[in-house]
């Protein structure tokens, strides 16, 4: 369960998030909003990459301010640009990076690498240099690098923005099949049409919150 308690965040004199209180317990949650609305900052709060100026963020009772490392083991984060997330030169080395940091054994690392590559039909790319992958392959490897660490929650910050339609659908299918709680920040309204809950953010506040059928039309009207 994710809890935001009276969370505000500002950068120098700019208020990015303003007194947000939310409890997120659904399996598929989407956060939408215009550029600069604060939605990506909200996502970054969920695994402690950003800390609130005031208020608290709790992940299964763990405060991101005090238990950042534990929170990051529970909450995986997928960035918009996979090129900035894949940190090792070769695919299998990148998949191993997070697991090594978390103290997985060599046997566990090998088994989980095999499993995740097979799951996304990427086994042929095991020893492939990361910079030679296609955009869709890179994003799948970035997601895989997060999933192998067994997070309970996966936060994704616009993971389909840089992809073509085929790869968008590929990522959407991969996300739909995840057993974890997913918090998806996106501009792609089709991607979240079957989500359990959609939260629309505007100027650092919750503008609308509810099922997609209610929130998406209200958001479209706001953006008109």
């Amino acid at each position: 369960m994710i809890e935001l308690q009276n969370v505000s965040l500002s950068f120098s004199d700019r208020q990015v998030l303003n007194d947000l209180s939310l409890t997120l317990s659904e399996r598929r949650i989407a956060i939408i909003g215009a550029n600069g609305s604060g939605k990506s900052t909200l996502a970054r709060l969920l695994n402690g990459l950003a800390l609130p100026t005031s208020g608290d963020v709790l992940i299964d009772g763990l405060n991101t301010r005090k238990k950042g490392r534990d929170v990051r083991r529970k909450v995986g984060f997928v960035f918009q640009n996979p090129d900035n997330q894949i940190v090792m030169p070769v695919v299998e080395e990148d998949l191993a990076f997070g697991m090594k940091n978390c103290g997985f054994s060599t046997a566990e690392i090998a088994a989980k690498t095999d499993e995740i590559l097979a799951r996304y039909d990427l086994s042929d790319l095991r020893e492939h240099p990361a910079h030679l992958l296609s955009g869709g392959q890179k994003q799948l490897i970035a997601i895989s690098g997060v999933l192998v660490m067994n997070p309970d929650i996966v936060v994704m910050d616009e993971p389909t923005t840089l992809l073509d339609l085929r790869n968008k659908r590929r990522i959407a299918r991969a996300v739909a099949a995840l057993s974890q709680t997913v918090v998806m920040v996106t501009h792609d309204l089709d991607l979240i049409s079957d989500y359990d809950r959609v939260i629309a953010i505007d100027e650092g506040r919750v503008f609308a919150d509810g099922p997609p059928a209610e929130v998406i039309p209200a958001y479209q009207e706001l953006m008109a």
């Binding site: 970054r44 090792m88 030169p89 978390c102 240099p129």
Partner: protein, 198 residues
Amino acid sequence: MLDLYSPGHSPLHRMRPAVKMAALMVGATLLFINQSLAATTAATLAILALYPLAQLTLKQAFAQIRPLLWIFVLFFAVQWYFSGLTLAAYVVLRLAALILLASLVTLTTRSSDMIDTMTRALSILRPFGVNPAKVSLAIALALRFIPVLAQIMRDVREAQKARGLERSVIAVAMPMAIRAIKMADDISDAIDSRGYRS
């Protein structure tokens, strides 16, 4: 060298990374100590002969030195002008041999194995305040992001060319620097979010 590892099961692939890296150090030193064109030519041919042994083609060998051909031409021309044809051939051949030898090691060694070996080797510097894990991560990041930065450079050049600014160093350097700094921030967050303990 940016092609990095080429998967295979040759004797060179199976050789321990520490042995290959030590051989590279010794080989490079010998190439620089030696002053003979004949010996340098023989060394270059010997290194080229190792490529098929490592299940690599001569085309792959040439691909390693192709990006530096203009430097070879420049070195050759300057050396020929100042020191004569023999020394010019010796200097360029020595540089080519060194690159071919280093590439042979990177093409037959996984970067993770190379980094693990460097981490172990650098641990002797721990009493002097060197953190081997940090140095190794820096090396891995350099290997990973040189091609990414090269791609950004191409994108920025193309964008500035479309605006007629391809000759302006500032018009290329500024957006390049801004994107690199933004990218460094994101990479740092990505490393944090994947449990890295500094």
